[in-house]
Symmetry: C2
Subunit: 284 residues, 2 copies
């Protein structure tokens, strides 16, 4: 999916959010935002948003000299989401259709996205859960159910910290022994890395690999050979979040994308209103 | 009120909105946004937001060579708001407290602000009206009522096109013979100029002057001598919208500010939640 000029305006805001996470010194925040803005004004727009986002966040880490600006927020989101698991797991256990409910909850968790919103509170998450349970979602539900029933090898591309606790609920329903979860290879935004998978106990139930990349999406050409191999051999790929959608929707490989429509650029691209919960295969 | 770095991110978005209004050519839109971004990265942040916004929008008009990018939108908003007047005027006429209702409606009209939102639809306006009528607002209501009762000369600083139709409802209640309405001296954003005052018939009931400035606020030092004189001699000044608030809240002169809190920078500054309807005197 190609970048829009809206993404550029959004990156300026992201740089301010990140600057505020790494320092309380307003002069320093200003220096960071000015630098990113000047640099951004010379960047091409021919790639997908995660390609430029990767460069923006590399630059942010370089200027601020903070390797993981979102670490504290990620830890907080993991704890917040993890605390909700017993209650949500009980709901799934007593549900008529545990796969459907766990899938909805995994989409609900996609609200924890600091690329879109600088602060994510527990109220936002609870509201998203309510929305996920009550509102219809746009999806190829039967194809997905069948793919889940038949798959021998499932590749699950995680998205954000916090959200990854909700992913755990779905992975528990998928029969973990056939699932490999891929997280980002290095910190970028509040995207989940090994540390976050560990924080919600994913390593105990499933194989977790990192994709070898610091893009907030999945740029296959720069992922590890292992990730590339799994991507081409898995019977079912589940890709969470907008970043994975933006970077993989043109791959032509069957991927089920699970995400909430959280920005106008995506909304225009998929022709669905903001807030829509999506479970769908796309090839554009 | 001093600028925030959030304002800078917001100006990048505004430049994209304006670029899309002046051309459908994406290459040209990109050129405009890149230029504004590069230029913004070198600007100081020591002034109030309308000071930098004035420069941003001058630059936008210069690069795009379009003197009034928001003209079409302003005309549409004037017509949309004007069409609502008979219905709203009837509501005011049958109200127990016409001044209160007209004041609420004038604040509701402040939703028509393209600095905040690139598209304003009739639904947004109707929702704002509903909100204005049903929700409480934060205000020095008794002081205001008394000031209105006693004033001999009222200066009414208008804000946006479209909104100015709602201002007319309040002005009708203020006894127009004592009111002078000031509009912007030249096009900037969707702020009201003489043309917009005329479109909603304000010239027929009241004296309309322009303030001589193309800032989206009231920068007194660059306003006409007439505006400055009226500002210092009026018994009551009513200033609509965030831009007038941002540029005048430190004047020390009694000004009643009427606006909706539409951005996080203002929300932090006045310590009120987003969406709050405000009728208040501020001196900071």
């Amino acid at each position: 999916m190609k970048m829009s000029l809206d993404c550029v305006a959004c990156f300026v805001r992201q740089s301010l959010d990140a600057a505020r996470l790494v320092t309380t010194d307003e002069i320093e925040q200003e220096r960071i935002v000015r630098d990113v803005m000047r640099w951004l004004s010379d960047q091409g727009l021919e790639h997908s948003p995660p390609v430029l986002a990767q460069l923006v966040h590399r630059r942010l880490r370089e200027i601020s000299q903070v390797g993981d600006p979102y670490r504290e927020a990620k830890t907080r989101h993991n704890a917040m989401a993890f605390d909700l698991l017993p209650e949500l797991r009980a709901q799934i256990a007593s549900s008529d259709d545990p796969l459907a409910l766990a899938t909805r909850l995994a989409i609900a968790g996609n609200v924890i996205d600091m690329g879109m919103k600088s602060m994510v509170a527990e109220d936002d998450v609870r509201e998203s859960i309510r929305h996920a349970l009550e509102e219809p979602f746009v999806g190829e539900w039967e194809d997905y159910r069948q793919a889940v029933a038949n798959a021998k090898r499932i590749l699950y591309l995680a998205d954000n910290a916090g959200e990854i606790a909700f992913d755990r609920l779905l992975i528990e329903q998928l029969a973990p022994e056939r699932v490999t979860v891929a997280v980002r290879g290095a910190p970028v935004l509040n995207d989940a890395t090994h540390e976050d998978a560990q924080a919600v106990g994913l390593h105990e139930i499933v194989t977790v690999i990192d994709n070898g990349s610091d893009a907030p999406g999945t740029l296959l050409h720069e992922c590890t050979p292992e990730l590339q191999r799994l991507f081409s051999t898995a019977d079912l790929i589940i890709a969470k979040g907008q970043g994975n959608f933006e970077s993989l929707s043109h791959q032509g490989h069957d991927v089920f994308f699970l995400f909430k429509v959280k920005c106008p650029v995506i909304a225009r691209h998929v022709n669905l209103p903001m807030g829509t919960q999506v479970l769908r295969q796309y090839k554009d």
